[in-house]
């Protein structure tokens, strides 16, 4: 039932190429934001140098490589998954707002909680004193048994649940048809 509802909503939303493009762009942007928030001071420094776009790209790819190095393949994959699901979910919310003329309420707000969880579980390029003091121990997210997947997996679950509720709302509203 749930899969059918989601398939139907996906078909309605993503048969429109602009929503596919929006989804890809938002996914890439979300991943970039995860890297930006964890390397914020470096981006500010690079900005102050009037550096070339290539240097921004270097810092971004280096940030991604650092997540992979520090957190491993499983964690890196989960962050990619959160980024992709964020792109899909936000595109569906945009579709819902434009077609059904409804934001969808608190359930859609939950999806932003999922995105925040992804940002928190993304590792930065430094050993952070702040994270060590928040968690009360050295080692950052690595001290958790699942190395931080404790945060990214619920994010994925929240985003999938949001997609389901958006799909359900679109189907039940009967306003999917243009």
């Amino acid at each position: 039932m749930g899969v059918t509802v989601m398939k139907s909503a996906f078909h309605s939303v993503f048969r429109n190429p602009p929503y596919v493009a929006a989804s890809i762009l938002i996914s890439a942007f979300t991943f970039f934001i995860f890297i930006l928030v964890n390397n914020f001071s470096t981006f500010v420094t690079v900005l102050s140098l009037n550096a070339s776009p290539k240097l921004f790209l270097d810092v971004t790819t280096n940030g991604a490589a650092n997540i992979l190095d520090a957190s491993g393949v499983a964690m890196f994959s989960s962050i990619i998954a959160v980024s992709i699901l964020s792109g899909i979910t936000i595109s569906m919310i945009i579709y819902q707002m434009r077609v059904a003329r409804s934001f969808g309420g608190k359930k859609n707000l939950a999806s932003f909680g999922g995105i925040l969880g992804g940002a928190f579980s993304s590792a930065c390029s430094a050993c952070s004193t702040t994270l060590a003091s928040i968690l009360g121990a050295a080692g950052g997210l690595a001290i958790f048994p699942l190395k931080g997947l404790e945060f990214s997996l619920p994010s994925i679950a929240i985003l999938v649940a949001s997609m389901y509720f958006i799909s359900k709302g679109l189907t039940e509203s009967g306003k999917c048809k243009i």
Binding site: T45, L55, C124, A126, C127, S128, G139
Partner: protein, 183 residues
Amino acid sequence: MKLQIPSFAPSKGSDSAQLNIVEFGDYQCPFCEKFFKQNEPQILQDYVNTGKTKFYFLDFQFLGPDSQTLGQGAWCANEQGKYYDYHDYIYSHQGQENSGWATPDKVKTLAANISGLDSVKFNSCLDSNKYQSRVQQNTQIGQSLGVSGTPTVFIGNDQKGYISVVGAQPYDVIKQIIDKQLG
């Protein structure tokens, strides 16, 4: 930003160099290891060995008790003029954070492999904990400069002030800041 480099801090490079590059790092931090392997050789080759900059490493040991031991070990090695030999050896043989790879006994074993280091003197120094306050002092210096993560690298001099870079960032970021400060 102003930075007062402690007089006891050992450096690499010429005393007539225009700029200072000051790294605050923790011997257990994997990103410091990455900086050591990825950036330090290029900085030394392009700027330190050519007389343009001096390089300082100061310990900012916050990642647990093993970090404290490693920090004290550096100053014990410094007594024998082996501060940077120790720094290079430890980063080349870094273990998993707080896994027990850097207990006092393990640090002594590691240090015994450093060429020219007198193990008896080193072990006695480490056992005495005589550099505990210096390790804490360096961490406090870093904190007063706003260090919130390691590695943090300050590039500049007293006249131009310092620009900081946090994390194991691409060499080009470091290079552009050095060139800007040199210019």
